[in-house]
């Protein structure tokens, strides 16, 4: 029965990690859905969220489980400004050029942070880290992951409702379906895309804040999560935010099971193999039919 408990533990841990992945992936999916671009700045945004929350914690002592609000707000403003100041100005918004611009921006942000804060690893210490929540004698869940899971879940559901039930969401979905006639229906495409980019960045930033207590912080920390968010967006069907959310949970579980049975170092490789298989066999994704 040991293997059963071990697997169950891995699945549960996977769901806890997966909720954070889901948040990152939903942000990416929202941006992709509304703007048809792959945002290579996503990892840098996540890293900025971690730093924002880290600095906030250092200055005020307020832990990231409340401080994430600050990260979210800061990243929303940054995302909105990046869209209005840079992305909007790309002539013709050719996707080649948009990819290039977000890549360049990611280099600037990552290396800029490194220039200011150095390449050192940082970590914060919360008393919560030592607490575990036990179910029976075999299963134990780490408290900080449980808290971040709860927050991520609430935010993911909220984001889903924003996209499906608000005016903004309706406008965003209209643009995702076809951007050309949208202005004719009174939709300010630039405004909606800027807000979407802001929300997408905020989602990455909040996920970064929630990861801070359980992760090391350094300037390049975002890239691994960015790569995972590509996987989620493809798995979920490009542009489907609920698809990306489910893909996030699945990815978390798959990674934890891979770590358990094959070794931690193969987790990311398995992500990519799944990614390539889905891209080559069913490029429309497997978890989402409806687009954001």
């Amino acid at each position: 029965m040991n293997w059963f408990y071990a697997s169950l533990q891995a699945v549960l841990n996977g769901l806890l990690t997966g909720a954070l992945y889901a948040l990152i992936g939903m942000g990416m999916a929202l941006i992709f859905g509304v703007m048809r671009i792959v945002n290579f700045t996503h990892g840098a945004f996540l890293m900025l969220g971690m730093y924002a929350s880290y600095i906030f914690f250092q200055k005020t002592g307020i832990n990231p489980y409340m401080g994430f609000v600050v990260s979210g707000a800061v990243l929303f403003v940054i995302g909105y400004a990046v869209y209005m100041g840079l992305l909007r100005r790309i002539p013709g918004q050719v996707d080649f050029m948009v990819i290039l611009l977000t890549l360049g921006l990611a280099l600037i942000i990552t290396d800029g942070v490194q220039l200011i804060f150095g390449a050192d690893y940082h970590q914060i210490n919360l008393p919560l880290l030592a607490k575990n929540f036990r179910i029976g004698s075999q299963i134990s869940l780490n408290a900080p992951w449980l808290v971040s899971f709860a927050i991520a879940l609430v935010l993911a559901v909220a984001l889903y409702f924003v996209v499906t039930h608000t005016m903004f969401g309706r406008a965003a979905r209209a643009i995702a379906q076809n951007p050309y006639p949208s202005p004719l229906m009174g939709i300010n495409v630039n405004q909606v895309q800027a807000i979407s980019f802001g929300i997408g960045a905020a989602a990455a930033g909040i996920a970064g804040a929630l990861l801070l207590p359980v992760f090391y912080l350094y300037p390049a920390v975002g890239s691994q999560f960015e790569l995972k968010s590509f996987v989620m967006v493809v798995l979920g069907g490009m542009g489907s935010i609920q698809g990306a959310a489910i893909a996030g949970l699945v990815l978390g579980v798959v990674e934890n099971l891979t770590s358990l049975y094959w070794g931690n170092e193969w987790a990311l490789a398995v992500d990519f193999v799944i990614f390539i298989l889905v891209l080559s066999l069913k490029p429309s994704g497997i978890f989402g039919s409806q687009r954001a």
Partner: protein, 333 residues
Amino acid sequence: MKNLQFVFAALFFLLSLTVPLFIHSDYTLQILFRLFLFAALGLAWNLVGGYAGQLSLGHAAYFGVGAYGLALLAKLGISPWLAVLLGVVLAVISAAIIGSVSFRLRGPYFALCTIAFAEVLRLIAKNLPDVTGGDVGTQVPLLFTQSSIKSFYISGVLLTALAFVLTAWIERSKFGYYLMAIREDEDTAMSVGINTARVKLWSLLISAAITAIGGALYASLFLFIVPDQVMSIDMSVEIAIVPMLGGAGTLFGPVIGSMVLETASEIFKNVFEEAHLLIYGVLVVVVVLFLPEGIVGTVTNKLRFFKKAPAAPFGAPVPVTPEEEAERTAFRP
């Protein structure tokens, strides 16, 4: 005009070959080697990314296979130059596999797929320490025993010249036109009988071969490689940025791009130290916003449009003389 370009290019490469006669600083030669190496890598990428318009962000895969091919095959006792050759063969085989999957996808899907393959290769190299040395890295044999850095520099120039001549030839051939047709519109390309899948794959195979030679040279110069250095996404991005900065789909673009980028990064290296990629980022943003067709592309477009004003207003049918009409009647397609 075209011929003048080639005279200029020939002079440039010949002069570059004489540089070691009057520059003896190893440090300077190493920078110049890097400049030519990335010019060659940029030219190679340009075939796929520039002419065929397929935004590959996974060229580190071929670079890495070339580097590791040399290192690992030499460890088996194969002579270094034969190992380079076999490494190129391995890179071409990887390109065939990667291309046959990823070229079925278009736009951002393609770019993501190339990243994924490069990452899988990097992770395999990282996670098989018994074979590749894993994260610790592995030793690479020296390819040149005599006055090493000068030989590396010369081989860098020669590789660039090779890639340049190949590109120039392709640009004027049917194959080159086919690549450009695919970039402009794949449906149209197929409608005139182009087997787009095969043409794209060929461009990638050539590109991968040159990139793998570059990888082997780079690895041999540093004598030691780790996966996160030669197969990282940063390497892929750097290979792609060089030609895009200079002008994707232009012959001189990658060479100019490498000159600008490597010079800038050398100047700013002392200012930014570890954060030397910052300058890459700034240059990329500047290019996208202000020179969307790269340095060479933007300049030549300006020239072309000033030189030739349209003979008749666009769209209006041309008035015809009786002689022309007669010629037209004689036409049989």
